[in-house]
């Protein structure tokens, strides 16, 4: 039986027809929008931010199927998205709101943060929408939240080389701390 549980491994996206293994274009120039959707919202506010589920809900680049054909990426392949403000590896998935050729949508979260603009133009609000970006196919993996925070901010690692930090042992899907856990408190 399929339960409509609020837990979902991955957001539900439509299957794609025939995707060529090699795309016609190596790099795609797109417009990046960020925002929230119901999967990201449910996962974030439940508190499951360390989980694989949040990685898939928030670290996903929703693309128009025609753009996916151009790059030769299928659902849940990985893409590298670059802007003037940074770069990040994301899952690719077919957008539920297509068609929007030339525009990609990434849900807000630590992944989107690395590529959005902090420029407020003196009115408090950073520019989260309408940023120019490039999208390309990659073999790199999408990082879990804790690993991504370690890579991007490096607050508690001495290593400064991005490549080394990216390939460090994963911090996993459970909080890492020295202290009592839920079971020990009961």
């Amino acid at each position: 039986m399929f339960y409509a549980n609020t837990y979902l491994d991955k957001p539900v996206v439509d299957d794609l027809e025939q995707i060529p293994s090699e795309g016609s274009e190596k790099i795609l120039h797109c417009m990046l929008n960020t925002g929230s959707d119901i999967y990201q919202g449910a996962c974030k506010k439940r508190g499951s931010t360390l989980k694989e589920e949040y990685k898939n809900a928030s670290g996903t680049c929703y693309m128009d199927p025609r753009d996916m054909v151009k790059l030769g990426v299928n659902n849940w392949d990985t893409v590298l998205v670059k802007t003037n403000f940074g770069e990040v590896v994301l899952n690719a998935a077919k957008s539920r709101d297509a068609p929007h050729e030339g525009t990609v949508f990434v849900c807000k979260g630590p992944w989107a943060n690395t590529i959005t603009s902090h420029e407020t133009y003196c009115c408090s609000d950073p520019t989260y929408k309408g940023i120019k970006c490039t999208v390309e196919k990659t073999d790199r993996k999408v990082l879990l939240m804790a690993d991504l925070m370690r890579l991007v901010y490096k607050k508690y690692v001495d290593e400064t080389d991005d490549k080394v930090v990216e390939n460090m042992e994963s911090l996993g899907e459970m909080p890492v701390y020295r202290g009592r856990k839920w079971e020990e408190l009961e």
């Binding site: 508190g47 403000f85 408090s124 609000d125 701390y177």
Partner: protein
């Protein structure tokens, strides 16, 4: 179609008692008709809530912050007792020069009161999530006005609903069902059939799919589009054939429809505030509503995201005169856009202590701003382990407002709602209000005089 399956969830029958009429602590809809099914002091099911509300109330216990923690020398968080954690946090705040207290939108107004007293004493900047979401809307209200109505009026009277730059089906899932589109009202006896729904959004969002009309103007085209509507409302002819990607005939038709509505409401979201024209988009939307009021009755409401983000703005405007980004370092309240807002402060690397209360900058601030959090001590007061915990040096586990703790919140239309308590909090957690009061008292012990600039005397000789 890969994902579309019929789903069935068997009803929960194994519970001790029901707590009725609870308020949802998720979005600005603050639905106050929720029933919690409680077993062994845990909420096992929620009735009437949307997917978002239910998921928040039935939280992920694995990631609940349970014990106060301090970051050790090796970079790992370590459990400590409440006294030590509060003393450490108080010490950081008491010796700071430019503290920023950010968050507040997911806690009660009672907690904000304690926080403001601490902020006034220590000369902090108090800011909330409005700074990254509806800040431009608040600025536009100062520029152009605030023609608002309550959601009850929308239910009973509105016959035309416009969502602009807002995907209500994803971020406020019960907004259409409970307030704006589907419910039957006093003058709208047939509910959905008595209303026209228009969605203006560059993408064909889930809300657009449920609307009668979708206006997909081009990216960053909102400013031009609203100006075109205003021109037509004032009786002008449009010279261009296509404006912001919309043919002029469609604009004429839309304006006629809007003018002939008996009572229309514009709900706008972050689609307007996050694009390039920012507060100017909202300015023009508010002015459009004013123009529409010459022919018909129109109002507007920002789609506020958190359940109490409006509460902080109302509370601060009442207490200090400014809605958000209030700098108290000079001993009186100052507010300057681009100067006293969290993102600008962080990108200028100004703060030396950052306290996060019921918010998640790690998840929602751009990289360029967050980088500074890696340089300074961060105090976190929250209920879940999130991206901000990965940057936090002191962690103070709070309690869950509207489930484990009662408190006041303000709905998106400014209606205050008292949220009741349903279950007890974990024994090791404390109420946010208690944490703020303790911090305030400890800081006052560490520092006898308030940490604000001396009173400015224009002509000392005359005193």
């Amino acid at each position: 179609m890969g994902g579309i399956r019929m789903s069935y969830e068997p009803p929960i029958t194994d519970y001790d008692h029901i707590v009725e009429d609870c308020t949802c602590a998720f979005c600005g809809c603050n639905c106050d008709d929720l029933d919690y099914l409680v077993k062994d002091n845990k909420v096992v099911a929620v009735r009437h809530a949307c997917r978002l509300g239910a998921s928040k109330i039935m939280e992920d216990i694995d990631q609940r912050l349970l014990v106060p923690m301090i970051r050790g020398d090796d970079g790992e968080l370590e459990e400590t007792d409440w006294d030590t954690a509060l003393d450490k946090a108080a010490e950081l705040i008491a010796h700071s020069i430019r503290p920023v207290f950010y968050g507040w939108s997911e806690t009660s107004t009672e907690c904000m009161k304690e926080g403001l007293e601490l902020g006034e004493y220590i000369g902090a900047v108090l800011d909330n999530q409005a700074t990254i979401c509806h800040g431009p809307s608040l600025q536009a209200m100062q520029n152009a006005g605030y023609p608002i109505q309550t959601l009850g009026e929308v239910t009973n009277r509105a016959d035309m609903i416009v969502y602009s730059g807002s995907n209500a089906m994803n971020s406020h899932p019960r907004h259409m069902a409970r307030y704006a589109v589907f419910p039957r009202g006093y003058f709208r006896k047939r509910g959905r059939f008595d209303r026209t729904v228009v969605t203006m959004d560059p993408k064909f969002s889930d809300t657009a799919k449920m609307s009668d009309k979708w206006i997909g103007f081009e990216q960053n085209g909102d400013y031009g589009f609203y100006n075109a509507i205003r021109a037509v409302l004032k009786g002008k002819k449009l010279h261009a054939d296509v404006i912001s990607g919309i043919p002029k005939e469609d604009i004429y038709e839309l304006v006629e429809q809007m003018k002939s509505a008996e009572f229309g409401v514009l709900f706008f979201g972050l689609g307007l505030t996050h694009t390039l024209s920012k507060q100017r988009n909202i300015d023009i939307a508010i002015k459009m509503v004013m123009d529409l009021n010459k022919d018909s009755k129109w109002g507007l409401t920002p789609m506020r995201g958190h359940f109490n983000v409006n509460g902080f703005n109302i509370f601060m405007a009442f207490e200090t005169g400014f809605a958000f980004g209030v700098d108290l370092s000079r001993g009186y309240a100052r507010y300057m856009l681009g100067e006293t807002n969290t993102i600008d402060l962080l990108t200028r690397k100004e703060p030396d202590v950052f306290m996060v209360i019921a918010a998640d900058p790690g998840a929602h601030f751009p990289n360029g701003a967050n980088q500074h959090l890696a340089n300074i001590p961060v105090i976190q007061c929250d209920i879940h382990w999130g991206p901000s915990t990965e940057l936090a040096d002191v962690v103070l586990p709070g309690s869950f407002i509207a489930v484990e703790c009662a408190g006041t919140s303000y709905r998106m239309d400014g209606v205050p709602i008292y949220m009741r308590k349903a279950i007890d909090k974990p024994a090791t957690c404390r109420d946010d209000e208690w944490i703020m009061r303790e911090l305030k008292e400890r800081v006052m012990k560490l520092r006898e005089e308030p940490n604000v600039a001396p009173k400015y005397v224009p002509n000392p000789a005359a005193e």
